[in-house]
Symmetry: D2
Subunit: 310 residues, 4 copies
Amino acid sequence: MASQPTPQFHGVIPPVVTPRTADGRIDTASLTRLTKHLIEGGVHGLFVLGSSAEVPYLTNDERELVVTTIAGVNAGQVPLIVGACEQTTARVIEEGARMVRLGADALVVTSQFYAISDARETDTHFRSIHAALDVPLFAYDVPVRTHFKLPLDLLLQLGRDGVIAGVKDSSGDDVSFRQLSLGARGIDNFSIFTGHEVVVDGALLGGADGVVPGLGNVDPAGYRRLYDAAKSGDFLQAAAEQDRLADVFNIVYTPTPGRVSGGAGGLGAFKTALMLMGVIDTNVMSAPMVALNEPETAAIATILERNGLI
Amino acid sequence: MASQPTPQFHGVIPPVVTPRTADGRIDTASLTRLTKHLIEGGVHGLFVLGSSAEVPYLTNDERELVVTTIAGVNAGQVPLIVGACEQTTARVIEEGARMVRLGADALVVTSQFYAISDARETDTHFRSIHAALDVPLFAYDVPVRTHFKLPLDLLLQLGRDGVIAGVKDSSGDDVSFRQLSLGARGIDNFSIFTGHEVVVDGALLGGADGVVPGLGNVDPAGYRRLYDAAKSGDFLQAAAEQDRLADVFNIVYTPTPGRVSGGAGGLGAFKTALMLMGVIDTNVMSAPMVALNEPETAAIATILERNGLI
Amino acid sequence: MASQPTPQFHGVIPPVVTPRTADGRIDTASLTRLTKHLIEGGVHGLFVLGSSAEVPYLTNDERELVVTTIAGVNAGQVPLIVGACEQTTARVIEEGARMVRLGADALVVTSQFYAISDARETDTHFRSIHAALDVPLFAYDVPVRTHFKLPLDLLLQLGRDGVIAGVKDSSGDDVSFRQLSLGARGIDNFSIFTGHEVVVDGALLGGADGVVPGLGNVDPAGYRRLYDAAKSGDFLQAAAEQDRLADVFNIVYTPTPGRVSGGAGGLGAFKTALMLMGVIDTNVMSAPMVALNEPETAAIATILERNGLI
Amino acid sequence: MASQPTPQFHGVIPPVVTPRTADGRIDTASLTRLTKHLIEGGVHGLFVLGSSAEVPYLTNDERELVVTTIAGVNAGQVPLIVGACEQTTARVIEEGARMVRLGADALVVTSQFYAISDARETDTHFRSIHAALDVPLFAYDVPVRTHFKLPLDLLLQLGRDGVIAGVKDSSGDDVSFRQLSLGARGIDNFSIFTGHEVVVDGALLGGADGVVPGLGNVDPAGYRRLYDAAKSGDFLQAAAEQDRLADVFNIVYTPTPGRVSGGAGGLGAFKTALMLMGVIDTNVMSAPMVALNEPETAAIATILERNGLI
């Protein structure tokens, strides 16, 4: 476990989901309530326009509306880390500049996608974005979407060179993540976040600086308790909280494969839970994703009830 | 081999590459010469803003400049089939509408990417785009980029329902392609194109309507001869032409892996060949892709020379 | 199309399926009838213990029984090319030596599997087997099973060095296959076979020497007609025969996914067709694979009837 | 963290590597020393003929020699869990019966490989083996070799039904592993082992019963200390031990990609370390794998020295 100084970006930073109205528009009233729910839950920051926000499905106008709504509610209370979700370097720079103008305190950027790229181009990619935009940059390692695993050596070198301020890891490669956490200890102000909701206790034990949990939309206070227990060295307490959250996480297994896509299932479960909790008004998804139906919603209600969330 | 009527879209429709100046801007003078080179080579249409155009690397302004330049030179001589390269349905519709305004005669659309989608959502995806845009729509099957193979049954159903006007297949699944060609025979005005440069004789023998060959930038007349031989039933002549083109295609194996990415290698070879032939001014690639170097260029010159192209 | 001398191994060489009795034993009577059916259909050779024989499911005793049964019926009429299906080099050599003792005229060998290997080890693998066993060796490229694509350059080098006598390609990479066919022209007595049943006309047009069609169990005479038409230069006739066989191939799409695995579906369809044709007694599969059921069998009967096979 | 009774199989159970002599034979003298080294290091059991033993590369005679050598040295001191590495159900049963005759206390079995299988067949696979062999059965989840991830629901159902006595997880899917650990709590005498050397502290925190660490060949006592610290609830101490072992694990990154395959690199590093420590005589690998060379050996020596292992 790291004993080095806590970096600027750390703790629980949930990726805010994007509520929609029954007719499919961005629901700013629900988004306002959700933002307050998260801040009141004790989160250390907000990850805006992440995969959990359905960012690839949002038009540019919708992306702007989401960022400005959250920034207005937040009013500087916690840092806003904003995704610049575009295909390649030049397009990321344009999107990132727009997000900075809208209030981003930091940017989250993946490797190029749709493009057929490699490690050398990815190195240039991050360095070019850093040179073009004067803002902390997080590398987002999400091979299930980009189909390219960010190499460990590349991430550490970009950290040492001050190109990136940290990594959000959703790679599912826990061996590489541990080596990343170890390597990060020698780099000042370099933050390592896991995106995997059910292994946060182990990640913090291994030296991670925080977590970006989609499930944190549903139970931000639970993740805050987990984080605080770990930071105080009480890992048995952290594990107990993690076990409870791992049970809540079972909501993502309720959607029927075939009827609901892999992308829509987990996010739809988070939205459905938030709807059942009264935080947002609907569980409508961005088209062409379909919302969870009544039986799936009932299954989620059962899980929330046994965990005291409704 | 199909004996049904030739559909509206057919023949040799190369994906036009995007020349850049030495300092990285779109080179409209070179693009003008290239467009003329293709039309004079006897192509039946132009595929604009395809993967070979480096479309994911182009900013929106650059995409507009490319389409308007080609449309201006073409002046209606051949159909312009234009790619609307965006992540999800809503974004494709916005991009597609823009391309239609700029002069597209038809659109080429992939399944969603970066998104984690499935067959059901993909069906909705194409139907929603078709409903929103009054223009022939081609499905582009390119799993090496989208990481989703368009299912055979889905493509044929979308064809029968008039949602798509055809398929551009770059899936590398020749078994599925043959079944697609067979299934397409019962559907009016439904065009099947292969994107694989070196199997065009066999594809036409199996009933394909045409080819979208990246290598067609380099030797459009060769592909026209191949197509004409096949259409006249002289497959031994078609195969001889194909064998020659397969040798020219060896230019894509000249770049050094590790130095040049998979995405940059093939396209870089086409651009380098066009530069050596005097059609375009440079072989500069969109950043962060690197251009082929001198030894790679020399290797390409050797291949072009032995095939009489320079 | 190749005009070079026909190599020793060429033509239609079906991978013989393995009939079982109702209680799951090897059905040597059915296997005897099947072997006669194939030889009478005009095949140029028999591929014994291939994937279509369910070779990974057979115990060593069963493998011996299959080879000796076929060898006894064949009695030297056509060459027997026998699979040596084992995990790594040393085990392949033991298995290959056993097959040679049982009557194999040539061996078919994949790259190592379960092992995590690479190109360099694969080169050593084939050279070691060649050095240990004095028999023609075919490289079997089947990445859907081995999860390793045999590199084009490696195959051609092994051919030039006399290590392998040819390639059986089930890689589904038609671009690489064309380049392989072209490269093979300069190598004496080096045979290129496609394993894909529905693209044989195009493969022969591109210079392939033959085909190893699972569907050839069902209609060996059809593949013989296809091959003869192509060899005589009548590719329109070859394509017509191929189109008919591609329709017969639709039997492999009748099994229900989920109920029947990908491995069991295609092979189960071939066995079910042979049962309906009276060539073998049951469509029982090696456990744990399940046999096709009544509705699936009925669907296959429909396809066979419309193609005049029953 | 689990507070349930410790199951029969638990703790540190390293997969014993297979030493070879300079001329490539099994080195029983070295294997004897290695077995003593592990037992003296305090391991709770030995995993014989695992991937780390190069089991796919061993002939049947070699497999027998390895098992009998280890069983002779062990003389019943710790349980022997033995791999039955074969392609499909019937072949696994034959191999498993042989291993039981040679002294296996439990068997480790993967899903079928080379075969193209599915969840339903895999269920039958494990149930058939359990019915045929009266011995505890562990499911080995190693998709990097089998290319099939064992589904969470299937594993838990097989555990509840008494078909399997536990799981050895080398899937690299830490989310699924946590859910497996949680699900296992309700099942008597069902053991969950991680195969990933650098995340053992987090795995034990999440309720795992033990670890099967390849690196445990090199430092069995270190893994024993890690396990004991975790079991006593001192996770900060466990993490400190894990951090040290994660640094030792860097030996697996010393081999040069291209020269040494992915399969040979990690195992070659373990063998080279054991050679440097004087436990075994050579770092020779099963052909066609190559041994680490002098520079790679020197790099490993540096890592061992800074961790006090030589």
